[in-house]
């Protein structure tokens, strides 16, 4: 168990930190989710319990009778990790007060993929945030229901092809924009919301630690490339994650108490966005967008990303 009191943000400290997820799990080659989880582990500060929604991470790390987890971990269903975490948090507090549970405080983390967080479990997250339980909810967002075979979710990008948003002769993949989950959760006026991704790992670990340290609920939106679903090279996941920041598809920022917006890390240093085309051309799931008939559609996506970026800069007071 990691119990030292500082987050491990330097490589030197990171390699010394107890790992929370063992090797031998069955996540796909190149999947960024185990990296996301390991970075989360670098931020831990003491007794911790993890609640995991159904998803890739859950099924591939705990195939009975094996487990890759070194932390106490529970999975109940697809959409309820935030509710399960609510129960754990309040139970441990009451039991401690009665002398039936040793630890005065346990860090409780709820994890879910984008399907569990943007869609089916959204109500449970909203409820838990409103009630103010002292948890960190982290969504690892790989842009689709990858576990069930690459179906569209509320996190799927406009133009992205999935098995339920096919790129056909008349439809160019998903037509709708991505749900701005971090903004929606920030609108709950909770103490802390942050977006992270694994290439900016120091930023990731620092933000996750802040999320643990605030009193009350915190929400982390982690970008997590999926080579299988995205039809990208298995060795490129961290680079793609970086590119998502540089193109403005996954900007890095924090929102304090739903009011104070702060641009962070690589996003803060961006002079201007790279064109989304640079991101799209790295992945099979966007290949169709480069057909001549979808040139206008691709342009619309770029306009939307530019618009969102300008709005975010304004909120963060960046010019």
């Amino acid at each position: 168990m990691a119990t030292d009191n500082k987050p491990a943000v330097s490589i030197k400290d990171m390699i010394k930190k107890d790992r929370i997820l063992n090797s031998g799990h069955r996540m796909c080659a190149g999947c960024a989710a185990p990296v996301v989880i390991k970075l989360m582990g670098m931020a831990l500060r003491g007794p911790t319990i993890v609640c995991n929604n159904t998803g890739c991470l859950e099924v591939a790390t705990t195939i009975y009778p094996y487990t890759a987890w070194n932390l106490p971990w529970i999975h109940v269903a697809f959409e309820n990790a935030a509710a399960v975490a609510s129960g754990i948090i309040e139970a441990t507090k009451v039991m401690h007060a009665k002398g039936h549970f040793e630890h005065e405080h346990v860090d409780v983390i709820a994890l879910g993929g984008d399907g569990a967080s943007f869609d089916i479990g959204f109500g449970a997250i909203s409820g838990a945030m409103e009630r103010g339980h002292d948890m960190v909810y982290m969504c690892y967002d790989n842009g689709a229901y990858q576990n069930t075979g690459i179906q569209r979710s509320g996190a799927t990008f406009m133009g992205q092809e999935t098995t339920t948003s096919w790129a056909g002769s008349v439809i160019p993949g998903k037509l709708e924009r991505k749900k701005p989950i971090a903004e929606i959760i920030a609108a709950h006026k909770i103490p802390y919301v942050a977006t992270v991704e694994p290439s900016n790992y120091r930023d990731f670990i620092t933000k996750f630690r802040k999320a643990l340290e605030v009193e009350g609920p915190a929400f982390i939106h982690a970008f997590s490339p999926c080579p299988r679903g995205w039809r990208s090279a298995t060795g490129e996941s961290i680079s793609l994650s970086k590119l998502a920041v540089e193109t403005g598809l996954h900007p890095l920022y924090e929102v304090i108490n739903g009011e104070e917006w702060i641009m962070s890390s690589a996003s803060k240093n961006l002079k201007e966005l790279k064109p989304v085309d640079e991101y799209f051309k790295t992945q099979g799931q966007f290949k169709h967008l480069f057909k001549p008939e979808w040139a206008d559609f691709r342009k619309r996506i770029q306009e939307q990303v530019d618009h969102d970026w300008e709005l975010l800069k304004k909120r963060c007071g960046v010019e």
Binding site: I49, I63, P72, I74, A83, G87, V94, K98, G123
Partner: protein
């Protein structure tokens, strides 16, 4: 020795209020619930106890019943004593997590004011919510009175948390008929309840000092073994239930059994019914006996696990069984209670005739005359030598 009378508190309480008092005394750690008629008073009263500092538990006012049961599972997983309450559509929304709670062996006490399922939306009593969850793995105990609701809720914790069981328990009362009806209730002193229910001793809790993985993926090679163990656990319930009741009887002088029998020994026709219908059936049995019909009553309390052999024994040599039930299993051979009863009696030496009467759906009143009608029909069927698989009574056709 039973607790002396001067230490007993007597109050006029609704079924919901009686359950709230039992929950107050059971020293919960967490109660997590969402409002739904006719259960809501349970949670309102409990919240009042919390607001007045009479309980040490945390109440989690969740945003849905799905999350209510989910929060209960989370709290139970760290070793807490946990309860929730619901009914009807709310119970239906919990459905997925009911199975998880049972299979993950969480000893949650789930009090239910049984109510009809939509559509059409209807707030009144029948048993379609309870019957719908009958295969979820919950123990199911249906109560006839406010007193029984109080008593059963207390016993439910000891039954659920027993290490040979470790299963969730549903405690059912008839919506409005019992949930909102004021009756005389005797309550034990708090210290006696504390001694009776004790402190939960979790077997394998989630613990930061001893990390385990709970709720993993189990595929073709292990899933079945989980279910095998769950089946063994529920088979232990009758034995443990008897132990718990014996202990409770020593305190209160009250016991209910898995079912209650009334004038069954010499009966030609035995009525089998659940919950508040049991009281009506007993009055009808007395009246019909004055008329010369030897009628007895079995009022079933424990529907899961179903006391198959004991029911067969209690029916004995009766010529017919008239089942009165408040739920339908659309398209089934008969309806849920009759299905169980028929199965229980299949091996009987003298297999009685079985009539199945579906009554009271959506809170339709089930007056004594409905039982008389059913018994008269059963007599005719005995004469004819055959009965329909089921029929509905008290409905426009």
């Amino acid at each position: 020795m039973t607790v002396s009378k001067d230490r007993i508190t007597v109050e006029g309480l609704t079924g919901d209020a009686a359950i709230a008092h039992a929950l107050r005394q059971a020293d919960l750690d967490v109660l997590s619930a969402y409002p739904i008629t006719p259960q809501t008073i349970i949670v309102e009263d409990y919240q009042k106890f919390a607001a007045d500092g009479q309980v040490k538990a945390k109440v989690i006012p969740v945003e849905s019943e799905h999350s209510a049961m989910s929060a209960c599972v989370g709290a139970s997983a760290v070793g807490a004593r946990v309860a929730t309450a619901s009914a009807s559509a709310g119970l239906a929304l919990m459905w997925e997590i009911l199975y998880c709670a049972a299979s993950m062996r969480m000893p949650i006490v789930f009090t239910v004011a049984n109510r009809a399922l939509s559509a059409p939306i209807n707030i009144h009593n029948d048993h379609s919510d309870g019957m719908g969850m009958r295969d979820s793995g919950f123990i199911q105990l249906y109560c006839q009175s406010s007193q029984e609701a109080y008593d059963t809720t207390l016993m439910a914790f000891k039954l659920a948390e027993h290490h040979d069981v470790l299963l969730p328990v549903m405690v059912g009362i008839d919506g409005f008929i019992v949930s909102h009806n004021v009756e005389r209730v005797e309550m034990l002193p708090d210290d006696e309840v504390s001694k009776f229910v004790g402190v939960r001793e979790p077997v394998q809790p989630l613990d930061p000092d001893n990390p385990i993985t709970m709720g993993p993926l189990a595929l073709t090679d292990y899933y079945f073994e989980f279910k095998e163990q769950q089946d063994k656990a529920i088979q232990n319930v009758p034995r443990v239930y008897k132990e718990v009741e014996d202990e409770f009887e020593k305190l209160t002088g009250r016991k209910y059994g898995m079912f209650e029998t009334y004038k069954t020994e010499d009966a030609d026709i035995i009525i089998i019914a659940m919950s508040s219908m049991g009281g009506t059936a007993k009055v009808v049995a007395d009246a019909l006996r004055e008329r010369g019909d030897k009628v007895g009553v079995i009022r079933l309390k424990m529907f899961r696990p179903f006391p198959t052999k004991d029911i067969a024994k209690a029916v004995g040599k009766a010529k017919a069984v008239a089942v009165f039930e408040k739920a339908m299993s659309f398209g089934a051979a008969t309806h849920p209670l009759a299905l169980e009863v028929r199965t229980a009696l299949y091996e009987a030496e003298q297999r009685p005739m079985i009539a199945d009467f579906v009554v009271g759906l959506g809170g339709r009143d089930v007056p004594p005359i409905t039982f008389v009608e059913g018994v008269d029909k059963t007599k005719e069927y005995l004469k004819k030598g055959e009965a329909p698989l089921y029929e509905t009574l008290g409905v426009r056709k």
